[in-house]
Symmetry: C2
């Protein structure tokens, strides 16, 4: 049995959940209050972060390493192209979301407006929320620019880049923080990813005390 | 011809330079003042970061994507093991340095004590320097723990994980910020990596106005 230690509103965990589901791998989900640095988690991953995946008798961490492992050991269906240059582009876009987008947008909006409350860390820092909202526009514009030229974010086939991007946007959407109407290309792309069976479990997520808005799980949003 | 746009004291660029050199690929280095966000750089990499690599008619960014590309297209000598679980461990350790170590240590010590001056951004933030120095100890202890159990950082063969770790430590060492005497296992491991021919160009780096200390290039440090 595969076990994933996760936090529902972590975009890194969501990317891994999407990969597992797309590859039709059954997984047992265990909620991990990683912000409390539980001893068991620190033993599994000294970095104190989720996701942590128990699979094939091993314990793995770092979402990029986990997704590459799934790709190498469960290549069908593929979430990476075969051509090395196209693979580099997928990896660049995954890093785009998990590094820059996360630091500039997700951590500032979801981190301040939702996680602080869940983690019991007080009120949002309004400066950071404001900075995140400002930077969000730039990223949505860049995504629109890409989607005007490509069928999917990193090329003409759906890939891990789309899962990474959709994982971040889904966390923002959970707190109604995506101005969909201003970015129709991003909306249509997200609708395609959102309607995949692999996405369904994410749409059923609900943080106690902070339920999602109604449109969050609606495929016709 | 392969061209690398880089900043000499970027650990991410250093990791790529080590990979290129270990694979005996000739590269033209171009200094890129990325902090000024030059238009040419923003065109090559909208994230505005180095390294950027021109290779095989393509332009690539994100050091992890670049190193995976080099591994896929120039597999000899290998910097990644063949076994998927061992590869996951190498990727975990690379992320350990490029994510956590960088955020907690390198960006706080090299970022404040050297880069601020080079970038013309004023005086170091002494709070951040202090936080970085405190966290450095934890990381060197973890490296010692690993090196007590393994020949190299991610297993029994040298890998990209060692280049990632040595890239960060070499930047700290450039500003005399590694207490080598307190961590003999880390010292001996670094001496092994430092003595490789691939490391030589890094030891010849000198930032105008901020030359390295004498021991920096000394193999018997």
């Amino acid at each position: 049995m595969i076990t994933l230690y996760h936090y529902p509103l972590s975009p890194f965990c969501r990317k891994v959940r999407l990969s597992l589901a797309e590859k039709k791998l059954e997984v047992r989900l265990v909620d991990e209050p990683y912000w409390e640095k539980p001893a068991e988690l620190m033993r599994r991953n000294p970095a104190g972060k989720v996701p942590v995946l128990k699979i094939d008798g091993a314990v793995m961490s770092e979402s990029a390493a986990i997704c590459e492992y799934l790709e190498e050991t469960r290549p069908d269906p593929a979430l990476m192209p075969k051509d090395p240059k196209e693979r580099a582009e997928v990896r660049r876009m995954v890093a785009w979301f998990d590094d820059g987008f996360d630091r500039e947008v997700t951590s500032k909006l979801v981190g301040e407006r939702l996680n602080r409350k869940v983690f019991g860390q007080g009120y949002p820092d309004s400066k950071r929320v404001k900075a995140g909202a400002a930077r969000r526009r730039y990223h949505l514009e860049y995504m629109s620019w890409l989607l005007d030229r490509r069928r999917w974010l990193a090329g003409d086939a759906m890939s891990l880049a789309d899962f990474a991007g959709a994982a971040h946007l889904s966390c923002l959407d959970y707190i109604s923080d995506v101005p969909w109407q201003d970015f129709p290309l991003v909306h249509d792309w997200y609708a395609k990813v959102k309607s995949r069976p692999a996405f369904r479990p994410l749409l059923a997520d609900a943080i106690p005390g902070s339920p999602p808005p109604r449109h969050y799980a609606d495929l016709d949003f």
